[in-house]
């Protein structure tokens, strides 16, 4: 097993310290129902602390992650990047499969399983995404969504150091995802550990490269980029959860009479 836990206590201590230093958002007065409704809808009582981490992350992003992503996009051809993306997606497929099962979404679990099997074999270790064309399309599935479907409350909005926008529910789900990822537990030693971290960092660069245009646009056009990112994150998570909830395709064997689709 690889040791992933070392930075976590430090991280927790930093968050706690920042929270103590900056405190909570001021609630609007009770006699202003509109402002109160907005405060509740925004769901960001830790806003001052979150904004500190937004600034910190933004700084890290400007000097490290964004240049890496720009360079990655500039140096590596489109085709290779999309293949790298496929491989990374395939590596996370066992985790998606677990989460689909924990969410009791049998057809989604079937999609994930077939994607893993087909893309790992016919797709040459995940380089080619054959499964989508064969009728097993990709979908989003992670620990945060699983906890949401188990009716766990979301909790307040969090902006975490390095990890970015989150919530207690999503952060817990993220930790769970690392724990249930088989690759976390496979092998031992320096090489395995190095491969693991390579995967995490490539994933970060791949994700950041995919967001280059969007984030540049937000930072260029929004009056308050933090609030815009918060709103986008909350809406996007909700829509992922809604999609998973409403995906109630029936599980009928192919040789049986199929239920009629609306």
């Amino acid at each position: 097993m690889r040791r992933l836990s070392c930075p976590l206590p430090l991280l927790a201590a930093t968050i706690a310290l920042a929270a103590m230093l900056t405190g909570c958002a001021t609630k609007p007065p009770v006699d202003d129902p509109d402002a109160m409704a907005e405060y509740n809808q925004t769901n960001d009582p830790l806003e001052p602390t979150n904004r500190v981490f937004y600034v910190v992350n933004n700084g890290l992003d400007t000097v490290i992650l964004r240049p890496l992503a720009v360079a990655y996009k500039y140096v590596v051809p489109d085709v290779v990047r999309s293949h790298a993306h496929n491989v990374l997606a395939n590596l996370s497929m066992p985790g998606s499969l677990f989460n689909d099962m924990l969410q009791a979404r049998s057809r989604r679990a079937g999609d994930s399983l077939m994607r893993l099997v087909v893309n790992s074999t016919v797709g040459v270790g995940g380089v080619f995404d054959v499964a989508t064309g064969w009728g097993w399309p990709a979908h989003d599935s992670d620990g945060g969504m699983t906890l949401a479907m188990w009716s766990l409350p979301e909790g307040p909005f969090l902006f975490l150091p390095v990890l970015g926008p989150s919530s207690p529910r999503d952060a817990t789900g993220f930790a769970g995802d690392i724990a249930i990822d088989p690759l976390t537990w496979v092998g031992e030693g320096v090489v395995v550990s190095a491969l693991g971290w390579t995967r995490y960092s490539t994933n970060a660069i791949d994700t950041r490269a995919g967001l280059l245009d969007v984030l540049d646009k937000i930072k260029g056009q929004a009056l308050d980029p933090y609030a815009t990112i918060r709103s986008l994150y909350q809406q996007h998570r909700q829509s992922q959860i809604d999609d998973a909830r409403s995906d109630d395709r029936a599980t009928v064997p192919a040789w049986f009479a199929q239920p009629r689709r609306p």
């Binding site: 509109d34 402002a35 907005e38 925004t42 489109d78 245009d213 646009k217 056009q221 929004a222 009056l223 308050d224 933090y226 609030a227 815009t228 918060r230 709103s231 986008l232 809406q235 996007h236 909700q238 829509s239 992922q240 809604d242 999609d243």
Partner: protein
């Protein structure tokens, strides 16, 4: 006997009670809105992929947007609870600036939309509006799910929101403005000044 007055009355009655319209009429309405979005998608793609300089295309796209989007309604929505607090003069100025900034933001990067195609799906009523599903394909990008929210309150169909991958553009814009206002003592004039700067900077 079917008199003209009877026909007139029933027509007014049907108009006044949209909920009681026979379902074929409502389905027809949905079809009309879906066709409106399909036409809008074709128009946008025609401008973007058509001939002309980027400047020409921007002007053509502005015409399409002005014809199909209820920009004033979107502007009002984005100001949220501050709309009522604004003076008539501020409302007018804000709407004008909003219109200009929106145009700049949409048409500013017209080159990025090259090769775009829009496949329109089905229309469904939702909370007083009609939502038309679509898949937008851009070369080099994974296909994205875009819902077009259409209101028929002002007579003809007008787009009032876009929901891209589950995120509503007008809702996001409203939270941007309200956060900005909250950090500036809820002073609408500060927002108007900021929009002025955006309009002049990028225009």
């Amino acid at each position: 006997m079917l008199t003209r007055r009877f026909l007139l009355l029933s027509a007014t009655g049907a108009l006044a009670m949209p909920g009681l319209l026979p379902s074929p009429a409502r389905a027809q309405n949905l079809d009309q809105v879906a066709a409106f979005i399909a036409q809008t998608g074709t128009d946008i793609a025609a401008v973007v992929n058509g001939p002309g300089t980027p400047g020409d295309k921007q002007k053509q796209l502005q015409v399409v947007i002005d014809r199909t989007v209820d920009v004033n309604e979107v502007a009002r929505f984005c100001l949220g609870r501050f709309w009522r607090a604004a003076s008539a003069e501020q409302q007018r100025e804000y709407q004008e600036l909003f219109h200009r900034v929106l145009m700049i933001n949409i048409t500013g990067k017209i080159g990025e939309y090259q090769g775009v195609t829009i496949a329109v799906g089905r229309a469904q009523p939702r909370e007083g509006t009609i939502v038309v599903a679509s898949i937008v394909n851009r070369p080099g990008n994974p296909p994205s799910k875009v819902d077009w929210v259409v209101s028929t309150d002002s007579g003809g169909p007008k787009i009032v929101d876009l929901i891209a991958e589950g995120t509503s553009l007008r809702l996001t814009q409203r939270s941007d403005y309200s956060a900005y206002l909250a950090r500036n003592n809820n002073n609408i004039q500060v927002l108007i000044d900021a929009l002025k700067q955006q309009a002049s900077q990028q225009g």
